[in-house]
């Protein structure tokens, strides 16, 4: 049965070997940033980028909603980083609100990373509204009156003392909403906020949550979907920078390549073994 061994091996690779290979595939591009794959942005990412570009062109306030905690930082964090850098590049004013208690700090860390480079000053160019306990109620209130609903920023400064919000009363004065999220927050925005003043919304979910947005993209209720880390990579490509999003997007492509390769191996092994067993049987009967 020697002829079978290659097939048998192909369809029963020790899982430990798979895991080691996975680790290597993940670690190599991190340690050797020279490893690169070409990036082809998807149409969705391009739409998304253009929508944010249009929001920025109005020079009105952009509202970012952060719904992620440290556990989905691996996806949402890089998306947020790409988008915030883009806003800073356009010098668009923005406000960050969070619906996860860990999120205000995570968002602030991202802003701090670029604040110096793009000369962003807290209060003048952006504001961190902090964690909002009751999401739906907050959104409902913000449609009427942002300062009356949120009242203070994350450090307790009254919003009336924040210059960037000077001419902002409600969602009406906001040029767009960017929802960066690993949870089902989209319905709340669509149901309560965007339809009131036709505020454009960009949906920036983790990959698993992306399908939630497809029906709304078809009906043009959202301007774009930036899906997972791949979206972050695309976004950096469109912006013309190469940072973590690009790197992790590369790693992901390689991991996916590995998975596809393994599936092919498994199938070749499975069918190879079957065919050679059939052949052996034929020969045996002759």
């Amino acid at each position: 049965m020697n002829s079978n061994t290659i097939w048998e091996k192909l369809q029963s690779i020790d899982t430990r070997i798979l895991y080691v290979v996975t680790l290597i595939v993940i670690a190599l591009p991190m340690l050797f940033p020279q490893i690169k794959l070409p990036i082809v942005p998807s149409q969705e990412s391009i739409d998304c980028y253009q929508a944010v570009e249009e929001m920025g062109a109005t020079h009105k306030l952009i509202l970012i909603n952060g719904a992620f905690s440290a556990s989905s930082r691996g996806e949402n964090g890089w998306q947020a980083q790409a988008i915030i850098e883009h806003l800073m590049k356009m010098h668009a004013p923005f406000a960050i609100m969070s619906i996860d208690p860990q999120n205000p700090q995570l968002m602030q860390d991202i802003v701090d990373k670029y604040a110096k480079k793009y000369d962003y000053v807290y209060g003048r160019d952006y504001v961190n509204l902090g964690f909002q306990v009751a999401f739906a109620q907050t959104v409902k209130g913000m449609v009427q009156d942002i300062k009356g609903t949120v009242k203070e920023d994350w450090k307790g400064t009254p919003l009336t003392n924040i210059p960037v919000l000077k001419n902002v009363k409600s969602i009406k004065d906001v040029s767009g909403i960017i929802d960066i999220t690993p949870v089902a927050s989209l319905d709340t925005w669509l149901g309560l906020a965007t339809r009131v003043y036709d505020t454009p919304l960009v949906y920036v979910p983790t990959a698993v949550m992306a399908p939630e947005g497809y029906p709304y993209k078809d009906s043009k209720q959202i301007k774009g979907i930036l899906m997972g880390v791949k979206g972050a990579g695309d976004y950096e490509y469109l912006m013309g920078v190469k940072e973590e999003g690009t790197q992790i997007s590369t790693i992901l492509s390689m991991v996916y390549g590995l998975i596809i390769l393994l599936i092919i191996f498994g199938n070749i092994g499975y069918h190879g073994a079957r065919i050679s067993a059939q052949n052996a049987q034929k020969h045996g009967s002759e």
């Binding site: 895991y19 340690l31 996806e75 990959a207 698993v208 791949k230 992790i248 991991v255």
Partner: protein
């Protein structure tokens, strides 16, 4: 290696997190002593945290404070009722535990009605999709709606248990439903991979870049 780097490596929070991560990752190769140690640490910490939260998030604000500060003495009644849970440890009082568990069965059953109305009725309504192209409904949308309805009916038919599935049309519909269910599950599987891998990449990054800072220190 400079002292700053050493200092960074031995930062207790980072070190604890990093060793824990490595220990947990070692499970994929085989169950071992290091994994076992951190498994027990993890469960111990989780139980302690949960007990702490039980008191600080629920019992204290909802029970102790209203009772002892606001004087709502009737809250004391939950002490004897709560004791009923512990009836399971004796033969004599175990029926009392059944009583309080029964209360909870009733409670979870009662909330199901509300849950049904809140979650599933909107899904029924959302399935009312027009099948004929006219006005705002394009031909493509109508076609998609046909497919939607066909799959919905097919899968629902597959899940009929008591109705006989001998009729050829019913049988075919159910088979189609099962096939579509497989396609849907494959899609679900595929869509989940990215999020899971992103997390793994993030953890590997935590070890190699955030903790060991290999990107800086490896080649210098």
């Amino acid at each position: 290696m400079d002292s700053n780097y050493i200092h960074h490596l031995f930062n207790p929070i980072l070190l604890f997190g990093a060793i824990g991560t490595v220990a947990v990752f070692s499970l994929v190769f085989r169950e071992n002593k290091l994994y076992r140690l951190f498994e027990h640490i993890f469960i111990g910490l989780a139980m302690g945290y949960s007990l702490g939260m039980t008191w600080t998030q629920v019992l204290r604000p909802k029970w102790w404070d209203p009772m002892m500060h606001d004087g709502i003495w009737i809250w004391a009644i939950v002490i004897p009722i709560g004791l009923m849970f512990y009836g399971i440890y004796t033969k004599k009082f175990s029926w009392m535990a059944r009583m309080i568990f029964g209360f909870y069965f009733g409670l979870s059953a009662g909330t199901v009605f509300q849950g049904f109305a809140a979650e599933y009725i909107p899904q029924i309504t959302a399935s009312f999709k027009p099948l004929i192209a006219s006005g705002a409904i394009t031909k493509q949308m109508a076609a998609n709606n046909w497919i939607f309805l066909a799959i919905l009916i097919g899968v629902l038919t597959y899940f009929f248990f008591a109705f006989e599935q001998k009729n050829i049309v019913v049988k075919k519909t159910a088979n189609f439903g099962r096939a579509m269910l497989m396609v849907a599950m494959g899609g679900m599987f595929g869509a989940t991979i990215m999020t899971r891998e992103a997390l793994l990449i993030d953890r590997v990054r935590f070890i190699l870049i955030d903790w060991l800072q290999l990107n800086v220190h490896l080649f210098h």
